[in-house]
Symmetry: C2
Subunit: 221 residues, 2 copies
Amino acid sequence: MSTDTTRTAILRAAERLYAERGFGDVTLRDIVAAAEVNLAAVNYHFGSKDELITELFVTRSIATNRERLNELKAVEAAGGGRAPVDDVLRALVGPTMRGCLGPDSQRSDAARFMIRASIEAIPAIRKIKTREIDHLRKFAAALRRSLPGTADVEIYWGLHFALAMAHQTVRDSERLLRLSDGACDLNDVDGAIARVVNVAALALTAPKPSAAAKAPARRER
Amino acid sequence: MSTDTTRTAILRAAERLYAERGFGDVTLRDIVAAAEVNLAAVNYHFGSKDELITELFVTRSIATNRERLNELKAVEAAGGGRAPVDDVLRALVGPTMRGCLGPDSQRSDAARFMIRASIEAIPAIRKIKTREIDHLRKFAAALRRSLPGTADVEIYWGLHFALAMAHQTVRDSERLLRLSDGACDLNDVDGAIARVVNVAALALTAPKPSAAAKAPARRER
DNA sequence: GTCTATATTGCGATAGAC
DNA sequence: GTCTATCGCAATATAGAC
């Protein structure tokens, strides 16, 4: 365990730098400088830059998914196997949003790293994304229990929109902040989560407009 | 005009490749190979890789904003200066979504390029983003006319969520497609736009939960 | 396990002939 | 304007001493 200090220092430094600046802009030299270890140590411990990124991603992905499922399990147990829609959605978007917007810096690095990973297309990561689909199916199933009678398509769109709003909120909070001149308070993490959950729940429960209204005559340009 | 063929070929090839693979993974050598021009031509016509990207971004940014504003102007004129919320939102998200999901490949390259540009942090682009804020203020103003009495903060969050959903839908349509086993039809562009517009409109018009409901007691982990 | 030193590759950019 | 050839640099990765 004592010789893991170098390895751990590399992982922590890499996660922080990748979260801040993305994969393309961070070199192994940047990482070893931040971790105060030798350049060769990275290849010794991880084999290559891509394998380092993959290890980070897999570790964090498992942790995030577990956190989400724990919350889901808790709210479903509290409701006798059927949780309110809001609680299911909060279990989905809460961990990431609290991680990115909250004060804990190491959680923040981890969450922001995951956002980067979901955006920048590292080949190894694309493969792992299949697991994310399976993970989301568990939330689809929970929503089916919460909303019996709702079409599956609506549930998928609801999950999609919930993740879209959560993701964008943590990824580009600056635009919202500047647009609103600071009036939209992103330090209020629970408030932001509640907004995302509320809108996603509306998407899932509000009556749908008729099909005719979905494709209005397109205006000329 | 005839000597612009090289320049134009570079721009088109660069836009397509950047749209497909992102800025970091596409080299000037990739671009000149696709455009079937000489390597030195890029630096002759544009000065540097960053200036090439900037030129593409500025051009497309202006075009997208003009398209959005034209649609906004049309729907506001049709309503005597006050357009329905749905129409304002459709003017905002329609151009990008039609561009990315629609069949026209050149429009698709352009729209997907813009998505890339909004994600990957090229310094020159970050500067231009200030203009995007000003652009969004026009839509905030239109929504204020559509929804008198709605708090500004709600309008900003509504715009934020509308863009988030539109953006994610075109950026990661694959996840939704796989999650739904193809049941969520993204070839129905107008249907997808209607869904985004509908949910964003709900976010803007539905009554808000009380403040107490926004910060429920956090469950232990 | 950790270091120094280096091999190797590929990048953006440029000089200079045509 | 377009080409060939090449510079200078920074990247990942590795070999081999300790």
